[in-house]
Amino acid sequence: MEIVDNLVFGFSHALTLQNLLLCALGCVVGMLVGLLPGLGPLATISLLLPLTFSLPPTGALIMLAGIYYGAQYGDNVSAITMKIPHASSIVACIDGYQMTLKGKTGVALFAAGVSSFIGGTVAIIVLAWLAPALSNVALLFGPVEYCALVLFGFVCVSFVTTGNVLDGLAMCLVGVLLGQIGTDVETGSQRFTMNIQSLYDGVHLVSLALGCFGIAEITKNLDNKEQRSPFNGTIKLIPTWLELKRMFPSALRGSIVGSVLGIMPGGGPVIAQFAAYAVDKKFSKYRDEIGQGAIEGVAGQAAADEAAARTSFIPLMSLGIPENAVMALMMAAFIINGVQPGPAMIKKHPELFWGLVASMWIGNCFLLLLNVPLVRIWLSVFKIKYSSLFPAILFFCCVGTYSIANNLHDIYATATLGVLGYVFLRFKLDPAPLVLGFILGPMLEENFRRAMVINRGSFAAFVTRPISAVLVGMVFLFFTWQLVSFVRDQRKARTTK
């Protein structure tokens, strides 16, 4: 049993005092930013990125991963009690909030917490088993395949995050272009720097993420008036035996759906929740009640959410290719800490890989503790008014930017990108694909140039090499499908008029 040996090895690294504390810290911070508006996991991870320079890589990544999956838990709580999802728990708003309206907040929180734990546990088993196996697949990938996969990923992410493939794809491309600013690595020439000296090193990821996800989000929240939920703060946590019995099948279904969808390009928590919800609506014994505050509607999506948050690490750690914006940021964190994620990582840094996997399960236990017995403490966070909160978030954005290089001038870059992010938000353009494009852009360019040189300037390799041909074909089919369905909708609209 190789996996068991490896996991034992992983736990021996994750259970050191420092790593335990970092894991707990990550979970608590993640939970908090999941609960509070204005700072999602993306902004928080980039905020803390400069502070992790002094930590050993394993500890740093354990903490950052904790923030990510901790935020998913916290987000569920805020979606259930207030109907405000901050990061991604859109589905929890449906049945979760209906349960709050019925006065069953406590049971909904219990179901979400326990199901998330189940989902996380299933996903960790999948992760430990699949990631090492998949790293062999990565050896089949050359520059051509890499370019095709990134393109395919862009299309998937665009479709999933915005529901509108053109808008999302455009944002990916804007991200790639923003990543072009600075010094070209191969030739050393300056590109798009407009002779501004601080742009010679390019736009910093921290500035971009804090601008688009911190400053822009805060301003958008300020534009909206505060809403009040009928939630009164008193909860009864323990479900009845019947409710408990109804919860488990959904949680297991959600775990499987989430684990699978977490691995897909463009996959991740959001699509997993929707899929798990749809599966429950079709197969649950109580499907007629879903949508009106059924416990299945909370349990299934929470399990899928948590499962997908873990398995989305698989493509990053085995292929070295992040499949969504948060994973792209995690990749940046790996690289900043001196570790190149990819097929060689598991062999070269086994303590990091297995330590991280083991810490995810430890984090899962922490979060179960924080979310079920201790959830009342967290609910008091909602009493803080947004007008007291956002100046503090702005302050942390400033300090986070400053501590990249102890340079106050970087704050101007963050402010500029904040304005840009706000403009994009107002034009209904989602900044998440932008960050993905920004991080993948330089690597895409490097591989594209290499592919062109190897194939003497011919694009033929993109359709003659099998893996790349399949990916390019899928992109092509996808666009054809989009175009056909658009035209059909237009015709239908015209005939009904």
Binding site: L51, L166, L177, R191, I218, L394, F395, L408, G418, K428
Partner: protein, 140 residues
């Protein structure tokens, strides 16, 4: 009234043109020997195509009015810029006070005592970060 959907296409086209017009200034090279200008040229060209498609699509779908409010983003940006300026020329504690005051004007229930409380609390956090965590902050 501005239509959000068509304005989105134009905004993206403007971004594409910003890069597209500068790209020929760098060596393009050829496809078999790509220079630093080639990749940005291709990407911005693709972006221009996508933004035109978005613009064309907006002719067929329902008109959505563009909702753009200048006040809050102006206040938030100004608060960040003044934080950087005051921190550079005076010190960061003063910068925090200025930033919190300006930013608080953006909320719909501005109150002086609360703003002062937040400013003092954040100054204490900043001192704790400098003394406790060793973060290099030019506080005084």
């Amino acid at each position: 009234m501005i239509n959000q959907n068509s304005a989105r296409g134009l905004l993206l086209a403007a971004v594409a043109l910003f890069f597209l017009l500068q790209a020929p200034g760098y060596t393009i090279g050829s496809l078999s020997r790509p220079g630093p200008g080639l990749f940005p040229l291709l990407v911005s060209g693709l972006l221009l195509l996508v933004s035109l498609a978005i613009f064309v699509r907006s002719r067929f779908i329902e008109v959505v009015p563009l909702d753009f409010r200048i006040r809050n983003i102006a206040l938030v940006t100004a608060s960040l810029v003044s934080f950087a300026l005051v921190s550079e020329f005076v010190n960061m504690l003063a910068g925090i006070a200025v930033m919190v005051t300006m930013a608080s004007l953006a909320s719909d229930d501005f109150s002086i005592p609360r703003t002062a409380t937040i400013a003092v609390a954040l100054c204490l956090v900043a001192v704790a970060m400098k003394k406790g965590l060793g973060v290099q902050l030019p506080l005084w």
